[in-house]
Symmetry: C2
Subunit: 426 residues, 2 copies
């Protein structure tokens, strides 16, 4: 049984801590420098590190590529989970089958002269990228013998955790601010979560969730705070690597709110580099809404200042991105770029994605395409690109209503007259 | 190039017609006995037949099972499409990749002592079973050199066709009755379809769609009328057969409205039998709402009488099921059963599926579970069962609002007090 193939390392002070010490004591942030303050990014976010030389000696790139995308638990040596003979401990195959992500996430769209591909996470079990984190967190909870998991959420993370817990027969507890969009609240409740609507903002929901879960001994999935949320999100890079037969694209565009998705992507890339399975690092492009641009501002100006966020793309609305420092580093060290797009550009990108390419994305997810459109119109991009589509448009159908779909109701006779007249135009 | 590996056969009068004759002249119903009448099931629905002896001599069961689920076009000899060396003509791999269904549709749920499995079609490209028909129809249109496709729809078929056409760069034209649910209309429009809202019922939309598409030379995807809709829907059986490593379950539960899905399932089963790849036929259970039960009534009483349909499960609401005779035959000849469930039973099944098993299904899709619940509570079922989940719950989020989700908004302090009190209960 492998239980000590990884340890935790603080991304700020560099302290290294044994996995048992962290997990048995339910520690989440760095015990030395960790800091959680209102309206500020987290300090002391932990990263998980493995013995990459050991992994390399045990598996070759060619053998690794025989894995299918969408089932990251099939190679447990790259995850903070206990296993025996390449199989996870405490979890049956039947349970794992319920968690499969889509096996064919990548498809080409015919947009510009350069190759542009969609990475489609809108068909995961709860139709969002967040499932990657929820799944890893839930598997960890099972191995720790905990059956209840809590999270603070503004929407998708909560519905994802609730859905994954339901699939596994676990109980979820979701703490949300009172301004949560109705459709996301309904998703959370539909999955049988216990819902706690806090008469306050996300920070208050976050604090309450921490305090209560500690007291009740629930496992905590607060985004960025639990290092497994970042870790789970690295799985998209492995799925990309497998789907692209051992390659990665030159550019990856990701929507950024809290900064956890792009940090996870960067983590996956760094690991592939350490394993010697890739030579070139993709450039990471962090796309934010103009109304919630703390990460891009930090990349450009080197400092963080709290501003309350305001954007139609609720999944990337974050005044104080919890994972700001790691996200900024991901962009800077890959020679990528931070990009701001307006809500109008997001909606217009959402329309084009759906009408021209059949990809129904929620506004936050369409932001990656909005960023790509903007930069490619300025001819400021070379090589092939992958756009991360992080959530399904049906998770937020009210955003589609903003398109002002015109409805003409006519009788059969009227339609015939109109269509006959139009016959030369159509 | 294989172009004549199949022919059409009338399911009523038995006439056989060469594929070229049907397709080049855009014939859909049997030219001898076909009849399309208001408020009546169709007469002369065509079936596609292949030379099964020829197929058997070319591929073994073991070799067939090396296919992945979710990409039925990989074995074109079982589809009415032209191909060369096992590859479809006129369509690139890049285009086909955009159409992949989920590769892992089956998962076990822990519901009764008998084995119960979900067949999950709620994560297809447009999140419904209808994609199976839309994909086959679109591929046929491409091979016929037609770039515009029309359909009459009450919701899912239209949004499916619109989404699949958008993925392939084709134009769709959707004719709908004025009472279409808002969220389904928005989905259709979001995918860039031309929408024609008819001030009348589904029958009027159907007639108008036929007349206009004939005039404009658009390919027609009207359900049951175009035999490829039934044919496309057989693909779930092949996906099941592949996922279950060459087996099928003892029982299959399917929601039934127009009767096309269950007819497609039956077609797939009959083919596997003719190929000698299965020996035993699963029993087919047709589940209908009490407010729309023409197929079940026909199975039980042997006659059809038009009654206007009324059920919360809009995707299986059909007063005059177009494919009634074939659907009834599917149930009767497999020794299955027709089951009626109330709207309350459907909603209750939808809740359990979501809260206990994490499967968010639309009401029509939850009907299969409602039927299973009912019959298993009476201990009237033996062996393992598969429940067809035909559409995602987010396609109809308003139905989830019917659950009367309670919302309690409280301050942090209040929640703490409540949660501390509850600490022994939770």
């Amino acid at each position: 049984m492998m239980t000590d193939h990884y340890k935790y390392k603080c991304s700020d002070c560099g302290s290294e801590i044994a996995s048992n010490e962290i997990e048995n004591n339910q520690i989440y942030l760095c015990p030395k420098c960790g800091k959680l303050e209102k309206n500020k990014p987290l300090v002391g976010v932990l990263e998980i590190v493995y013995d990459y030389e050991e992994i390399k000696s045990k598996i070759s790139k060619d053998n690794f590529l025989k894995n299918n995308a969408g089932k990251f638990w099939k190679y447990p040596y790259l995850w903070p989970l206990n296993f025996t003979d390449d199989k996870l401990d405490c979890i049956s195959e039947t349970q794992l089958n319920k968690l499969s992500l889509i096996e064919n996430p990548i498809s080409e769209i015919n947009y510009s002269n350069n190759s542009v591909k969609i990475f489609d996470d809108s068909r995961n079990p709860t139709l969002s990228y967040k499932d990657r984190a929820s799944i890893l967190v839930a598997l960890k909870a099972i191995q720790l013998g905990i059956t209840e998991i809590a999270a603070a959420s503004t929407g998708n993370a909560g519905s994802s955790l609730a859905g994954i817990c339901a699939r596994l027969g676990m109980q979820s507890h979701i703490f949300v601010p009172k301004n949560i969009p109705e459709s996301k609240r309904i998703q959370i409740q539909s999955f049988g979560a216990n819902l706690y609507v806090v008469n306050g903002d996300y920070d208050q929901a976050f604090d309450l969730c921490l305090e209560v879960s500690k007291k009740k001994n629930w496992y905590n999935r607060n985004t960025a705070f639990n290092p497994l949320t970042i870790e789970g999100k690295k799985s998209s890079v492995y799925d990309m690597f497998i789907s692209m037969k051992g390659n990665l694209p030159e550019n990856i565009f990701a929507p950024v709110g809290d900064g956890v998705i792009i940090s996870g992507i960067y983590k996956g890339i760094k690991e592939l580099l350490k394993l010697g399975w890739i030579e070139k690092v993709p450039k990471l492009f962090a796309v934010q809404s103009e109304g919630s641009s703390a990460v891009v501002d930090y990349i450009e100006g080197g400092k963080f200042e709290y501003k309350s966020a305001n954007t139609i793309a609720d999944s990337i609305s974050a005044g104080a991105p919890r994972n700001l420092y790691m996200a900024a580093q991901a962009v800077i060290s890959t020679n990528g770029k931070g990009l701001k797009v307006s809500d109008e550009e997001i909606i217009s990108a959402q329309k084009v994605l759906c009408q021209k390419f059949g990809i129904l994305a929620e506004p936050a997810a369409a932001a990656s395409f909005a960023g790509y459109k903007k930069i490619s119109e300025n001819k400021d991009i070379q090589g092939d690109s992958i756009l991360m589509i992080t959530g399904n448009g049906l998770k937020d159908i009210s955003s589609l209503k903003n398109w002002n779909h015109e409805v003409e109701i006519r009788t059969e006779k009227e339609w015939k007259a109109i269509l006959n007249k139009k016959s030369f135009e159509i």
